[in-house]
Symmetry: C2
Subunit: 323 residues, 2 copies
C-alpha cells in the first residue's frame, strides 16, 4: 500500500517483450530527466523574484537522478496515440512527475511514513532537514502547475487548463492527498472506525493514493491530443486498470520480494497492520486478479490496434516487475 | 517577518476613512467565507473519487472561520476597477486565500515555526496531528489550482491559465516557498553564510515571503479584467508597495504591540535573531518609510482617479492597523 516499489531505482527494468519497450521506457526517462534539469536549473523566470539556493538544491535532489519515470512514459506513449508533439507530452509528463516526487518527499517525513531511504539515498529530511523537506515538497507541487501553465506544454490555453484541473483533482483531497489520509487511517492512527476493512475500502484507498495519478497520466495524453470522448475514456480505463495492477504487483512484492531486490525491507505492510488485496484474496487469488487486469488493460486498448503495442507491453511490465 | 499579524482574528478592523471601508472589507470576507464553505462542502466533483472526512475536516478547520481576508478583498476591489464580475473575482480571491491558509498551516508545523496557536485557536497539528496538518496544507494548495481552473472563475481559458501561472510563481520557489526558506535561513538554521544581513536582503526576503502573494492579489484583478499593460503595471506596483507596508507594520507591531492585542507574544522576531527593517532603520525610520509607502501606493493608483478610493483606504488600513 506504500509507494515503496519506486524505491528500487532505475537499473532493474525488465521488458516484457524485448528491447524496444526497455529502450522507449529509458528514452522517456532520459528526456524527462533532462527536461526537469533544465526547468529547475534556470534562474528566476518572469513573475519570480529569486530562487534561493537551498530550496532549488532540495527540489533538484528530490526530483532528479532516479526513478523509472513510469508516469511521464505513460503520458508520452498515450499522447503518441493521438499524434501529440513529443515535447508537449514531455512537459505534461514532467509536471506529473514533479507531483509524484513531492508526494514521496512528504510521505517520507517523520510524521508520515518516517522513511530514511528512498531509491537507496537518504530521504530529503535526512539529507537536508525536515523544514527544507516540507518546503521542497511544497515547491515541487507548486512548480508542477507552473509547468502545466506554460505555452511549451500546449499552445491552446483550453488544453492547458484541462490539464491543470485534471492534475489538481487527481492529486488533491479527492485523489492522492485523500488516499494518503486513508492510508494513515488504515494503520489505525485515528481509531478503529476509520480503518478500511474490506476489498471495496482497499480498492478505494489504492485508487486514490496511487491510481488517480497513474490514470491521469493516460488521460493527459488524450487531453493533449484533443481525443474524442470514446478514445479518451479508453485510455482512462487503461490507466485505471494499470493503477490497480501496479498496486497488486507492489503488494505481492511486499510479501514475496527479497529486501536486496526491493531496496527496502519486505513485509512492511503486514508490520503496519494494513490490509492489502493479497491479504484479502491470498497470493494465488492476487496473481489471478493481476492476470485479469493485464487482459483488461489490453482490451481497453483495442480501439488503437497495433499503435498501442507499447502500452500493452507497459501493462505486462507493471504487472511482472520484480522491483 | 513572520505572518503573525493575521493571528489576531477578524474583530479589530480599524477603517482609515469611515464605515464604508470596513463594510466593504467585511463584505468581501463574508462572501469569501461563504464561497470557501461551499467549495469545501461539496461531495466529490468530477475527477475526484471520494473526499475522506478527516482531510475535509482539517481543510475546513484551517480555511474557514477566521481572518480579515485581506487578500480576497484586494482581488475583489482591484478587479472592480476593471469591471470584472464580482463572482469571478471572489473565485480567484478564494483560490489565493486557500494558498495563504496552506502556508500558515505548514509554517506553524513543529519543524518550521512550531506555533501552537493561530487566530486564538489550536494550530492544525495541535487540533489534529502533524500528518493531518501536512496533508491538509497539501490539499489546500492543490485545491487552489482546481478552483482557478473552473469556468466559474472566468469563462476565458486564457485568463484562467494566466491566473494559474501567476499564482504558481507568486507561491512557489521564486516567491512564497523561497521566502520561507530565506526566513528559516535568517534564523541561522543553515549556518551564518545564508543569513540575510542588510536592507536589500531583508527586502528580498519579505518581497518573497509575503509580498509576492499580496502583489498577485492585485495583478489577479487586472488579469481577470483584461487590463491594459500600463494599468496592470499600476495595480501591480500598488500591490508591491502594499506588501512592503504590510511587513513594516507587522514588524512595528512586533516590537511595539502588546500581546493581548496581537494575540501572540510581542518581540518574537528579536528572540529569533532575525533582522527586520525596524532593526535596520529604527522605529522612527520605519515609521517614515511606512508613511512614504502609503504615499507611493496612492500615487500608483492615480490612473484610476476616484474609482480607487477604497484601495487608498486599504493602504492606510494596512499601514495603520493595530493587530
Amino acid at each position: 500500500m506504500s509507494r515503496t516499489a519506486t524505491k528500487a531505482g532505475t537499473s532493474k527494468t525488465e521488458p516484457a517483450s524485448g528491447a524496444s519497450f526497455a529502450a522507449r521506457l529509458n528514452a522517456a526517462a532520459a528526456e524527462t530527466e533532462s527536461l526537469l534539469d533544465r526547468l529547475l536549473a534556470a534562474g528566476p523566470v518572469e513573475g519570480e523574484i529569486a530562487r534561493p539556493h537551498r530550496v532549488v538544491e532540495a527540489m533538484r535532489y528530490t526530483s532528479l537522478g532516479g526513478g523509472k519515470r513510469l508516469r511521464p512514459f505513460l503520458t508520452v506513449e498515450t499522447a503518441a496515440l493521438f499524434g501529440v508533439k513529443r515535447e508537449h507530452a514531455l512537459m505534461a509528463g514532467a509536471a506529473i512527475e514533479l507531483v509524484h516526487c513531492y508526494s514521496l518527499v512528504h510521505d517520507d517525513l517523520p510524521a508520515m511514513d518516517d522513511d530514511d531511504l528512498r531509491r537507496g539515498r537518504p530521504t530529503a529530511h535526512k539529507k537536508f532537514d525536515e523544514a527544507t523537506a516540507i518546503l521542497a515538497g511544497d515547491g515541487l507541487l507548486t512548480f508542477a502547475f507552473d509547468v502545466l501553465g506554460r505555452p511549451e506544454t500546449h499552445p491552446d490555453a483550453t488544453v492547458r487548463i484541462a490539464l491543470v484541473t485534471g492534475l489538481a483533482r487527481a492529486a488533491g483531497l479527492g485523489g492522492m492527498v485523500g488516499g494518503q489520509m486513508l492510508d494513515l487511517a488504515a494503520e489505525g492512527r485515528f481509531g478503529k472506525s476509520d480503518t478500511p476493512q474490506g476489498e471495496k475500502d482497499v480498492l478505494t484507498l489504492q485508487a486514490m493514493k496511487t491510481g488517480a495519478i497513474l490514470k491521469f497520466c493516460c488521460t493527459a495524453g488524450a487531453i493533449l491530443g484533443n481525443a474524442s470522448a470514446p478514445k479518451r475514456d479508453a485510455v482512462a480505463r487503461y490507466g485505471q486498470v494499470i493503477g490497480q495492477a501496479f498496486q497488486i504487483a507492489d503488494d505481492l512484492l511486499d510479501v514475496e520480494g527479497d529486501a536486496a531486490t526491493l531496496g527496502k525491507a519486505a513485509g512492511k505492510d503486514a508490520a503496519h497492520g494494513k490490509a492489502t488485496l493479497v491479504d484479502l484474496l491470498g497470493v494465488a487469488g492476487a496473481r489471478a486478479r493481476l492476470a485479469q487486469l493485464v487482459k483488461d488493460a489490453e482490451s481497453a486498448l483495442e480501439p488503437f490496434g497495433a499503435d498501442a503495442a507499447i502500452l500493452k507491453d507497459a501493462a505486462h511490465f507493471v504487472a511482472e516487475r520484480r522491483a
